[in-house]
Point group: D2
Chain length 481, copies 4
């Protein structure tokens, strides 16, 4: 989907049996997780208790040059992070991993998710004299663990204790002087998996595609509520907070994750293809070709084609990656943002009745522009099929779903109105019931709050409010008197 919904983060951690180029390994893994966050990134390296750390705004290959990686040096533990942030929150102080010093020494922390009680916890610690350098939830988690550490005998016990007060979605990797720790909230909303290499290195990562690039094998997912501790070549597990099978975010399968990842025992590619198959059954249409909007609609398009018997075709070329320095398309009189990203393959669609598949529609403007490109290229009919239900509820667990008044499915009162606005001949969404089939065989349940309004965790009290408004705003100032 070339639109505006974003996962907020990807995390990575590695424990090596001996000192090695952990920074470069983390770099490659973060490069494979880049789709989970393109706005800032960071790596922290632990060389026998000495931490070296770099984080900045930009893409992994932009920030981590050869020179920078060499300055990070070698070590036997490293953690890393890629991040998407709402534009107003992008600054270095919010980039991760955090590297902090507390009463027991060094700690580095990287977080994927969103706390629902961040504001309360922040205030709790501020009333004890805490100072915050940024506005991220990660700093709140760091305080929670640090304060628990004062009254617990080890870092993992402190993590266990902190989890009693942390509410919401969090999949974290954490590094102390000697240990690599992974923690996942009791609902397990964000993914986190464990890998191992043939020579005994342990790896934690948001997705298994980060294991593949570094030749690690997927061992299993961290369980919802589980804490895993890697130390001295052994992985131990603390299961105090493991309450049930968990409810992972369904949108990880629909859009966020990379299709070559396996999450909770299910192939993301297969899940998407299945969604396309179900969509074909639910919303059949008489047409000549099925095309997917790259890259998020491609897998479902293949499924739709298989189930419907309508031939699969390549409808678009997607341009290569556009880094930070790319000019603003608005400044170029002869093009526009969509044309810079994709181009129609005219020979595929000209004179044809086209089924176009995408994973979702957010505001509808990009979608309308793409439909128009197809018509200009000679498509006779354009039938859009969406491999997920309409978003109509906010997400509080670490994604960036737009405010209600901008979501086309909230703004307009019927599928027909949406079809009319985006200019298609017909439109069909996958229904919520079908979602239960795409993850068949998964080790856990799923959260479909954004489609159904049924949330697996208590949401912040003032429910009407957009989640960003419930947080401490960047740059906000109280001290006025």
């Amino acid at each position: 989907m070339i639109g505006s919904i974003h996962e907020e983060c990807g995390v990575f951690g590695i424990w090596e049996p001996k000192t090695t180029d952990v920074a470069k390994t983390a770099y490659l893994a973060l490069y494979a997780l880049q789709h989970r966050g393109q706005q800032s990134c960071g790596i922290a390296v632990n060389d026998d208790g000495v931490f070296t750390h770099y984080r900045d705004i930009g893409l992994v290959p932009e920030i981590f040059t050869q020179e920078r990686l060499e300055k990070l040096g070698k070590g036997n533990i490293a953690i890393g992070h890629v991040q998407y942030s709402k534009k107003s929150l992008i600054n270095r102080a919010n980039a991760q991993p955090l590297h902090i010093r507390h009463i027991k020494g060094n700690m580095a922390l990287a977080h994927n998710g969103s706390l629902t009680n961040a504001a309360e916890l922040r205030q709790k610690y501020e009333l004890k004299g805490a100072i915050f350098h940024g506005t991220s939830d990660t700093e709140v988690i760091a305080y929670s663990i640090t304060n628990a550490r004062l009254t617990t005998p080890s870092i993992e016990k402190a993590v266990e204790k902190a989890m009693y007060e942390l509410k919401g979605a969090y999949s974290c990797v954490l590094m102390s002087a000697t240990k690599l720790i992974g923690m996942r909230d009791p609902v397990g909303i964000r993914p986190l998996c464990i890998g191992k290499t043939s020579d005994g290195a342990y790896v934690l990562a948001s997705e298994s595609c980060a294991l593949d690039i570094i030749n690690a094998k997927l061992v299993r997912d961290v369980r919802p509520g589980e804490i895993v501790v890697i130390n001295d070549g052994k992985l131990t597990s603390i299961t105090t907070h493991c309450k049930g099978s968990g409810k992972i975010c369904i949108f990880e399968y629909i859009y966020f994750a990379r299709s070559d990842s396996d999450i909770e025992g299910v192939s993301v590619h297969k899940a998407r293809q299945k969604a396309g198959e179900l969509l074909a059954k639910q919303h059949p249409v008489d047409a000549d070709i099925v095309i997917g909007v790259p890259n998020s609609g491609l897998d479902a398009a293949l499924g739709y084609s298989k189930a419907s018997g309508i031939p699969y075709g390549f409808g678009f070329i997607k341009n290569s990656y556009i880094g930070r320095s790319f000019i603003q398309p608005s400044q170029c009189q002869r093009s526009d943002a969509v044309k810079i990203k994709i181009n129609v393959i005219k020979s595929t669609v000209s004179g044809k009745r086209v089924v176009m598949i995408d994973d979702s529609i957010v505001r509808g403007t990009t979608c309308a522009r793409i439909v128009n490109l197809l018509r200009e290229a000679g498509a006779k009919e354009v039938h859009m099929r969406v491999s997920s239900p309409p978003f109509i509820y906010p997400c509080y667990f670490g994604t960036d779903i737009d405010s209600k008044d901008k979501l086309i499915a909230c703004r307009l009162d019927s599928v027909d109105s949406i079809a009319k606005e985006i200019g298609v001949d017909s439109l069909g969404y996958l229904n919520v019931d079908s979602l239960y089939k795409i993850m068949e065989g998964a080790n856990c349940g799923f959260c479909d709050g954004c489609f159904s309004g049924n949330y697996p965790i208590e949401i912040p009290k003032n429910q009407a409010v957009n989640r960003f408004e419930t947080k401490i705003h960047e740059n906000e100032s109280h001290e006025r008197t």
Copy 2:
């Protein structure tokens, strides 16, 4: 193909009816042509006869920042260039467009192709006292035109005269104080097309995908041997050197061009899909799934699937574009160059008999590594099909085909030996005869010299020698006495 054969260049030119942001338009067009050359790029802008010019080593979005584009300023004509060069020839002096001053004022020139008599012409002009700043053929072409200009009444007449002495492949765009000129060699080995916008701007580009991104419509290809002159809102044509239908490089269809381009009336995507279909007929196999090596094998894989009835699947994920600052994979103990570029989607191939399609095999090493990845992911059988014949002859016309002793099809004496070396269960190449079918309906014939040894132009005398060795070497020094 993730290997090592490269097109050498892409060119672009625009003539606007009034002064505008031509630099930004050129930037976007070059971005769409980036696949034709990733090592250097440049733009020259003409603002009422005053030329501003920038060229450097790097990718288009790396070199042309917002600030740099603004320094180029506005104008009503611009030309641009992207370039691939053999590593030893990469330097700024060889980047294009060239901006030169001659007896009649300013000229800028960008070239795609390779002269077969560059060394002779270079020596001819050196004996008249010429000095060269680089080692590119483009500077030779500039001298040829400049010298012709001394005895001709206009720049286009000088181009016409120069074409009598230029031998080989050249598709050029050229800008004088008031004119935009396109020229294509009489054989038409490299493509060059004409576009027009709704408000009267004329565009020249190596491929039509560069027209799409800037909302220009394809008018037609420049004819082999044709010179087109754009001035005062009119395009005029000089056809002195138009001798026949021409013979465009077949590899433009097989690999070089972007699949959304139309060249000489034929869709590149369709040509590739057709190649896959022919391949299925020529080399059928009993299998469960057909996958393409991204991105070059995808179109042919779809054709193979259609013709064979074996389902099409997504076998690989290709990582996003890797810029200049990406670390050397060799330096990372836990990965390798192929894994950084692609990852197998295990759920697609596990337990399956797989047909893997690619457009060519160059050295074979990358191919062998990919086959191995499929086996590690659980593929039961791997059958490779190649949508072109084996390379066995050198190319003298602007591509970078490796030296004979490294080409696997030259090194090994049978398809079976190649199959064994790359580790596949079976291997089939498209035969030369089938090539005639993939371009059916094209406005011109094609050159298949690299497969057949039949060249449409006289090749340099010392045929045994690799073409790079027939050129003046960068940095070579004669003055020893």
Copy 3:
């Protein structure tokens, strides 16, 4: 002195009556203070309570480009900082100003000096659950103020309360949502002055040269122990901690400050010239010319010349500023570090008996190299005179005086031995008693601890230890069990 003693910081703050380009004003002021710290710098801007902030490693003109300054935006309050750090402590987390968020909102803080009880305070707050992002004293001061703020009605009252627990040297500027605050420790070891512009802006700066560059007039120095609060166009003063006349670091006059600054009512240039005059009386010599080592020895050399009647000459040319990217001289076979920095004017010294003046001798190696350059240029005799006494005691108050075993005056037991080692014909240091004369008329006394061992504040308990060793080390790790 081209050697190795360094002031640790310079601070700046401005309060403007209306919103304006405060970032650019801060930039120029920091540029004028660059001599006080060349390793990192930062600016924080306050636009109606919203803070924007940037700090990094590098020189002011390197870090703050046009683009960066524009991103900082406009505002009506700003603070800035330049810093020198021991090499192992240079990292972004230690750069200043700190921008933190606490229970009452935003605060930014910049500090010049060094706490003597930093480790104790750090531990005190860590035992309450505090986390530290860096290893600087500034973060300790921030905690102290933040904690005091919990039980005080205003930020200035919190500062007043914090000063009861802060020990050592600190001259700070602090910015809240609406106020600019300056604070100076009760001994007043580091300077801090107040300026005002003709249109009502208030300025705080380490030295008056930062006022000159922005067209502000020096009002007065902040008194030792004073807190000044600027708000609503008025400056108010809190004098709770003002105990006496204070004891400013004498080395500010001898070397640290820029000679065009006036500190505590005394011109730095005049003080240095006076030191040279006293030196001439104390250590006369029969010679032909007096030269100063640029830039620190020039003022004293002029004084020596005046008092002795020996002509003043230009003995050296100092090369322009060398930024961060300058190559390591050690890597160049044909030069050395001293030659890159200065060159002898041969016509001045050839055949002459030379008196060479510098402000101090640290390790002696650079000095010996310079003496050798003079001899190579033909000097017949070289008599060195030093405008301060020998360093023999450590400094705990914010300077970087080398460890005892490297200081030449500690290593060798007599002035004659030093003279021999550096290769001069005679050597004389200014005695401690004379120091009292160079600051005649100053508003405060001075600290001469590094010469006498008499410190105006209690020093850290383990006196034998180098001061850096008493601090929490960067990257140190406690958590081992």
Copy 4:
């Protein structure tokens, strides 16, 4: 002088007996020559006939990073260049050294000076088909030598022949596959000297300060009209064009050169000091202190003080070097361009009658601003003395003297009017006759054309025209028909 007259270039060349880090040696030498040109720079390295070359816009330490120097590699010959250019001519194509390839191989060339017949020669070669990449005279010189090389047996013979047609000022260094060559025009307007190291390396440089930094000893100046050829460890001399003692530019002594250089047997520092002494005799005044405007007025101020008996003082602090990224002072509301560069030391001038010395007055605006700063700092009287006569004639030989209508001495008809405009109590210039005394003992005569209108070489025909207008303009376009 903080004003607007500029030398155009500095050149450097080195021949080493064996392969070594010549690029780094050239870097340091160019750093020492940076005062001769701050807008572009370049180095070309010769490693056994293979040339590597880099040139760009910016200061030496900005352009030549560690990484860049390492890419230049090692070699046994190198040449380098620093350049000042009129703003409109700054572009990479005009940066030097030029690296060109001609019929005999590689040549690199760096030039200091200005040809008076560049336009004629340019046209001559263009009529033979030459193409120019830039607009510099250097490319003209390259063509002249290359064309001569066609009919001469060696590169040095070609240089000798070329000198018959080159008119004007040129001091060049040139590198062929095996030789380092220096050439100086028959009048010797720009300096060029020869140095040697203890281990047998030969060096050519615009000024001796570039020898000092790399530990080479000054051997002698290249004679006016001389060609020196260094090859196989020997220096040979061709004296065909050596006609007389030469007439070096007097402004090299007054302002352009660094005061630690010796040129034609005369110390620049001594010459300036002498100018100050003569000025004291010619324009005495009753005053309390003599100060120089840094850095160009300092030497003469010391001379004025000595001859007059009025004490010498430090009147100003000059800020460190301002690189390319420094913000435009015009953009900062609270400062101005002069204040950013210098600050008055108030204690020196307050309440005093001040004599202020500078080497020249160009437009007068900067001077007036400085005088005003002195008055603001409390100076009772300001008497300006200038250590050269007024400029009233244009220079055609490689300097950037402003157009006549901007020069204050051309605009106003008397010294009194100038004094009034710049706001001084009295003003005196050194007279032309005195110039003859400041270079006493020099090996050659001097050109004082800018003061007297007597030029040692025929100047371009259209004398009324500003010299830049007689050149081919950057970007000019003839081809209009």
